[in-house]
Amino acid sequence: MPTTSASSTTTPSFSPTTSDPILDRLASTDCEIKLKAVREVKNKIIGNRTKKLSYIKLGAVPVVASVLAEADANSDSGVNLIVQSAAVLGSFACGVEAGVRAVLDSGVLPRLFSLLSVTDDKVVDATARSLRMVYQSKLAPKYDFFLEANREFLLSLLKNENESLTVLGASIVIHSCETSEEQKILCYAGVLEKIISLLDGSLSQRDASLESLAAVLKSNPEAVSKFMDIHSGRALSSIVELTKDRYSRTRLLACLCLICVKNSSCHLQDLGIKTKLVHILLELLDDPGQVGDEASLAFSSLTAEKEDLHKIAFEANAIDKFYCHLQISSLNPKRLEGIFLALADLCSKLECCRSRFLTLQALSLVVDALVHDNTNVRKAACICLRNSSRSIKNLSAGHFMNESTVIPLVQLLSDLSSSVQVAALGAISNIVAGITPGISVFIQCGGIKELVQLTKSMDSSLRLNAVWALRNMVFHAEKTCIEAVFMELTASSIANLIHDPESSVQQQTLALVRNLVDGHIDFIEYAFAENGIIFDAVGRRLRESSTAEIGIQGMYVLCNIASGNEFYKEAVMQQVFPEAEDGSKSFFNQCLQSNDSRLCTAAVWVIVNLTNPTSSGAYGRVVKLRNFGTVSQIKKMVNDPCMDVKLRARIALGQILTFGES
């Protein structure tokens, strides 16, 4: 008997709330009465969700589980009871979470597994079907593939001539194979071969084979390679053929398998198969049931981050097709989520896709979904809005900055789900970027206050994305906007964020400061508010930092401050080259020698500003730079392979040399 990683309990999830004569009959000692009662329950609940729920509430599941547990598999009457009660338990578990939970809580799972080994085919069939229903649910306990006995049992199921057992084996794989380690162990235990062999079986074996193959191959190049080695990859051609099958579910599952192979190998990379997959999945959207719901999610896994596929999909009118489906009212949440995510993918890279999306007025449907009851739909709508707002052309035209979009987005910043909050912040980061006109709409609905509040969150992804949004917002913003952000955020909070435990937050905060001190020359003073708390924090962060990204943003803060008057240039000079520091250990000189040309460029810009020949203190600073060895470092950079470094070093050196050679 296999073991499961979750322990079974015998506590029923529902206590009987009212008595029902049928419960008494189920508990009768008379086999005939009991059998009749079980049949009656079966007939009443089959395909009837309401009845199922009411019987679950009555506490029927543990009673039926007891019938099954107590029945003798070696007697005719016992066999009948087992077959009927297993069917009832399977029916309770089919499509109803409370039913699955009640079945699991009844502790009947080990008994069901043990009944798979009896000789009576009817018992085996019935219990296998019942277990399959349980394993279709996420609530089912995870099957531990790392136990040898479990693997052997799984193989015995898959090898069996009984169709129900093979399908149960595949269902267990579909349910429990999640990690790459699990995928690997199944590949090397011979499970992959057995699953492939089911492709030649009945319809249900074929579908189970395809779905379990997808589970084993997903995002695992090693598993895909092993799959291609088996029978010289003949299975792949069979799966390609199955994309033309008459059953829509088979077509969808075949596509999912091919997507797994394509995404993790060099196979299936030609234009023909990619185009074919796009067309099949778009056709499957028309299926009114579960297949149609899942088709858009499969589409996303095919196209995610792949520009060539976005182009193929664009040419196949995918955006129009998704839009048509979106227009159907009362779509179920899963389908709605899938469509938003598919549209988000398509709009993630190509402007032609974003342009088509916006021309169709699909945006208003996305905005409507920002207030949807379902968390996943709200999140997907935010992601769709985020990706479609990557269009600088449309951002600059102010197409996203209006009350109907901004108000619900700001409200989502207080959503109960932090993943929705993060997704909303992603969309806001784009929409408020300083290239967008009409930021007052966002300010008037309290957006800045909400963002600043989230910079203080315990959740680092909320802090990161809130600071990111503020950073984009103050990019070349109007004075009133910059003042409003600074007043709300305060210098001390900015200094704290520069020292945030997360380096990504530090980096975004430095980028925020960089933007704050750009623009009007007076803005430089922000860095010196509260006794220079921000300026000091920037200096310390640069000295303590080990990442180039932080170095780059910090250097540009100094560069922008050094583009100010003599006072600011001297302040930067003191920060970068303190009297007590030895030039050979100078962090600044180390930045100039960095392997990252972006960091070198930023550092040279600081020198360009400090040595600006029109400033009165430039000569003194040049002398100091020579003493620190910085000038000789700059000289080495005038022939740098990076053109930007080279050209900036030449500007800096040209300025330095106006004060003489030594």
């Binding site: 600059s396 969309a427 984009n472 933007n515 400033s615």
Partner: protein
């Protein structure tokens, strides 16, 4: 210690027919937020005229050879306020875009006539005439050639009496951030010259902002 400054980089040819183009290097002076100001000469036979022009870069995607920004014309005679337009640019990187426009009513001859107005184009001319410059590797060339096409008016309606039907042939100097351009519209005066210099908002040096879309 004085060091010798090497000659300016010359464009090299891509070796091998299938070798990929080196990705275009970023130039900080052409980054987002950078501002430029200067003039556009709109003189005609009737009169000499120049409009003051400000440009700001709003977006840059070197991978796709894309640049965009706003252009503000300040003393336009028939407008009460400065006229702001949004433009999108094609960077001639020989991967996404070549020297040949292939649209906007510009023939290869028109292209060559305009590109040859830029002195920095002359080392490239022979190759461009041979194959459109497809075999040139411009990634390390200190000039960036572009086409800027105005897409819409930002602050005035289309009935403002002005046209944005044409486009600019543009040459940007990576060394000093200066921009030269020629406006091309078969229905407007030929070779209207655009001359812009990098500006610093009254600062005593260069400053750089950045934003990053998610």
């Amino acid at each position: 210690m004085p060091v010798r400054v090497l000659e300016s980089s010359a464009p090299s040819q891509v070796s091998g027919a299938n070798s990929g183009h080196t990705s275009f290097q970023a130039c900080t002076l052409l980054g987002v937020g950078q501002a430029f100001s200067g003039t556009q000469n709109v003189s005609s036979l009737q009169k000499d005229e120049a409009w003051r022009v400000n440009v700001r870069i709003q977006g840059c995607d070197l991978e796709h050879g894309y640049l965009c920004g706003t252009m503000e014309a300040l003393n336009v005679p028939m407008a009460d306020t400065p006229v702001v337009t949004f433009w999108e640019g094609e960077i001639v990187d020989t991967k996404n875009y070549t020297f040949f426009t292939g649209k906007w009513e510009a023939s290869p001859d028109d292209d060559i006539r305009h590109w040859t107005k830029f002195p920095s184009f002359s080392p490239l001319q022979a190759q461009v005439e041979a194959d459109g410059g497809k075999s040139l590797d411009l990634s390390n060339y200190p000039y960036i050639f572009m086409r800027w096409k105005e897409q819409y008016f930002v602050n005035v309606g289309t009935d403002c009496g002005l046209t944005i039907a044409g486009f600019y042939y543009v040459c940007f100097s990576c060394s000093d951030g200066s921009i030269s351009g020629f406006y091309y519209d078969p229905n407007s005066s030929p070779f209207q010259k655009l001359e812009l210099k990098s500006t610093n908002d009254g600062r005593f040096g260069f400053s750089f902002s950045s934003y990053e879309l998610q």
